[in-house]
């Protein structure tokens, strides 16, 4: 790649030759020389960029690249699977529970197993304040005995939950204490997680 400064110098040389040959006007020579030397020297940042030999791009070109990449991002958003969370609400159905790294805000979480008997059910999900009542967060696993189970890491404290059977029927845990929810009037279950 030809450096921009080299190109300027070549232009100046050409004009100087023409000026000297045609007019030999010293003022014109001085003007051209002043203009050439007044050009700013390339900055260190610019020299660093030049060293990488990056492709030259106009503002329009840069904008087009940006639009294409953002469009690719939107496409990926629709195509890529949701990367978050299987792990936090780990659907193991068995111990041991996934280990949360020390940097994880749920590092103090305690493995808590839930069990629900529903031999005729097609699907059972655990919903509660710990997973914002999202039905897809913690599906239970059916064991051959017809018992459904899931083990999830819960933070120490009091948690309210229920089982969602076949995506429609909400049932309290018969093995746990119940509480009637003041806002929606439906019975839920309560688990006290003691901490470690």
């Amino acid at each position: 790649m030809i450096d921009e400064r080299d190109a300027v110098i070549e232009t100046v040389r050409g004009r100087l030759r023409a000026s000297v040959a045609d007019q030999a006007d010293p003022r014109a020579v001085a003007r051209i020389l002043s203009a050439a030397f007044a050009a700013p020297a390339p900055s260190r940042w610019r020299r660093w960029l030049d060293a990488w030999h990056l492709p030259v791009m106009s503002r329009v070109g840069a904008a087009v690249v940006a639009v294409i990449a953002l469009a690719a991002g939107f496409v990926a958003r629709g195509v890529l699977p949701n990367r978050a969370p299987v792990d936090p609400m780990a659907v193991t159905g068995e111990f041991p529970i996934p280990v949360t790294p020390a940097s994880d805000p749920r590092a103090g979480a305690v493995a808590t197993q839930f069990v629900f008997e529903a031999p005729a059910a097609q699907a059972v999900a655990l919903v509660g304040d710990f997973n914002r009542w999202v039905p897809t967060a913690a599906p239970l696993v059916r064991l051959p005995s017809g018992v459904w189970t899931v083990t999830v890491p819960l933070m120490p404290g009091r948690h309210v939950y229920a089982f969602l059977v076949d995506g429609a029927r909400l049932e309290a845990d018969p093995r746990a204490a119940t509480v009637v929810d003041a806002d929606y009037g439906r019975p839920s279950s309560v688990v006290m997680v003691p901490g470690r």
Binding site: P55, V56, R83, W133
Partner: protein, 226 residues
Amino acid sequence: MMPTLSSHMRAAGVALVGLMCGAPLVVTAPHAQAPSQAIALAIPDAKARQAVEREIARAVSRGLPSAPLVAKAMEGITKQAAPDRIRSAVAAQAQRLEQARGLLGPTPSEAELVSGAEALAAGIPTAMLKQVRAAWPAQSVVMPLDVLTELVARGVPPKQALERVVTLMRRGATPVQIAGLGAAVQADVAAGLAPDAALEVRARGVMSLLPSPAAAAALAPSGRRP
């Protein structure tokens, strides 16, 4: 005027930096917005949905956290409540969170606000939340509030539950010990023991593990809340 090479490079640099910052945000957006999208999907009626979203936005503009409110809306959706009931529940939750913020001040954590709101929903008087905060001004009161709520939910009179919990806090009990008290009383009541009797027995058990009042005062926690 012809654009110079450096202006080209600057434009390219700006575009690339923008892409590097913007594209990952676009790709990761679905998870961050999942509950809101779930609300949108679950409440097809635009008017009803907007009413719920307005309640949440109003609460957020008052400085309240959005997560507990979105969770309250999701709870209603999962429980197949009518949209108007969901809106009322979200508004009530916002009110309780705001009340808890005033009672647990000056800077309660989000978890403390949620536990405070749950305590208020369980019928625990507002003055009791202040007493719990006063007992542990510098430590998280999530666990004491949760246990207090659970004791009252099991049938222990609020005054007795508060006395025992605050005594344990002042005597230097750890959050784990306080949580253990709540779990033990819950199990005892499920096994048929009277709630107040279960609390007396279990509180005595925890108390026996604690240092004397004088030693506890000397060891009083002075650290910051987690």
